[in-house]
Symmetry: C2
Subunit: 146 residues, 2 copies
């Protein structure tokens, strides 16, 4: 079964971003390289913070600052609406920008969006229709994770 | 331990993107909503394909087509250099654009980058310094997944 092993966020200020994600509970691993890359072990993926220019060079593409949100969102599913509210509050107090406060969706969920210091979008979601394991994995109704 | 539960890619053509990811081994779940969203169960995350405009509306932000790569990359770690080459070849034959062919990195790894039909960046990587579980999870040297 395919998956995503690691998500790399291109950032403008590594120290600022590391502090932001630390405030959200991610721990910087000692294998990180000072001033270059911060690796943070999650339960099911690794989050990597890396200079935007370094990422562009590695991938061989242009990544100018556009001032617009990229069409991608990383979601953290939680087990209740209260947990969505709490996660948004934590992210906001850590310096994230709540771009859309939590709201009930037409499909019965409850979600909100935060932009990190570089504008990367994070969704905090409660979806009562999806299974949710203790390690944060979502299990689709007919699916089987792991 | 924090994590990412689900990654949403905003796409221009849901059918095209669903076919692309299906060719890479992701299976569309029956809980998907025809013409609106495709959910694909991975071993450790769910991949969600969703209209770029719908994602922008949900998040309450602008997501214009910029013609530039977003400063984010989703990585699939594999267990050998040959697996990197094979993954890049599969993605290319599925309609992905190899933006940087696989190359040996200065840190001892071997990586390459593919852009999906909307330009979303995927990295295929072999990193001999990281642990890799059967389900695709990366375990940092001093880390503990799960």
């Amino acid at each position: 079964m395919p998956t995503v092993s690691l998500v790399t966020l291109g950032v403008a200020d590594l120290e600022r971003s590391t502090a932001f994600y630390a405030a959200l509970g991610w721990q910087r691993s000692p294998v990180s390289v000072e001033g270059t890359v911060a690796f943070m072990q999650g339960s099911t993926i690794v989050l990597s913070l890396y200079g935007r220019d370094d990422l562009a060079a590695d991938a061989g593409v242009a990544m100018p600052v556009t001032g617009h949100a990229a069409p991608i969102s990383l979601a953290v599913n939680v087990s209740s609406e209260a947990d969505v509210d709490a996660a948004l509050a934590t992210a906001a107090s850590a310096g994230g920008r709540v771009v859309r406060s939590a709201y009930p969706t037409e499909w019965g969920g409850y979600i909100g969006y935060v932009a990190d210091p570089d504008g990367h979008l994070w969704e905090f979601a409660h979806n009562p229709g999806f299974g949710l394991l203790d390690d944060g994995r979502v299990v689709l109704p007919d699916g089987e994770a792991g």
